[in-house]
Symmetry: C2
Subunit: 146 residues, 2 copies
């Protein structure tokens, strides 16, 4: 890894940190700033995939299901980068109080694929998920800890 790549890795970490801060503050503009216009995401909720179209409505709708601040903490972030392409993986702990009074505290898996576009790193693909129990229940495994 060259010094250039070390610098890229630091810039990508900053981008991801800034986006996590925006999630915690329920700041949709801050969250959306991290994505390229052509980003395709595989999210926790259906459908199978999303384009950037409608991203603001989705994120604002999701924020509206939480009361007060949101817990959104990135753990074990590992990044591989070259001059203009990078990917990262992490675990993300999402917690808080829902409008119905439930208090989820879920560890999910996060994979990020990035491109440097006009000098700035942007997320072009994101995959967030939990696994599921392959028994009769087919329940989402929202109770796992790392």
């Amino acid at each position: 890894m060259t010094a250039q790549h070390t610098g890229d890795s630091a810039r990508i970490r900053l981008l991801i940190d800034q986006q996590a801060s925006a999630f915690r503050a329920k700041n949709a503009d801050g969250v959306l700033a991290a994505y390229a216009p052509e980003a395709v995401t595989f999210d926790l909720a259906p459908p199978l995939q999303h384009s950037a179209a409608g991203a603001r409505e989705r994120i604002e709708g999701w924020f509206a299901t939480w009361v007060g601040p949101l817990g959104y903490d990135i753990h074990d972030l590992a990044i591989d980068s070259t001059d203009d392409l990078a990917f990262g993986r992490a675990l993300v702990r999402i917690s808080g109080t829902k409008t119905d009074g439930e208090r989820p505290d879920v560890w999910a898996r996060l994979t990020l694929c990035l491109r440097k576009i006009e000098g700035a790193w942007k997320i072009v693909h994101e995959h967030t998920s939990v696994p599921f129990y392959m028994d009769g229940s087919l329940r989402a495994a929202v109770d796992l800890k790392p």
Copy 2:
């Protein structure tokens, strides 16, 4: 994209095609050949993440839950690559007959992160999932179609 990168993209597609063929044939060696020794995977089933340790037992155990050939078809594969780093995303349709007589036919999301290692592309990170219904059921969304 340079000719070099076009060639890399073609080589990565071949790797992914060959691995999909190995899945269909329930050939564990063929499936495992696509991964780097340090690969970390986020799989359909718990736990949250796996290292390469125990990969053979997991894949052979999973193959043993299916009777006869397995359907494993990659759709809408999109690849971004540079000289030695690449990522791809796709939808994968997994179908067949389980030993208990059930006949799953599931569309999942697949994200692949690759490195060129000693001249050969290898998967260093893989994320496979389905989303889940964020209602009281928390059921895995195994019934989605693209």
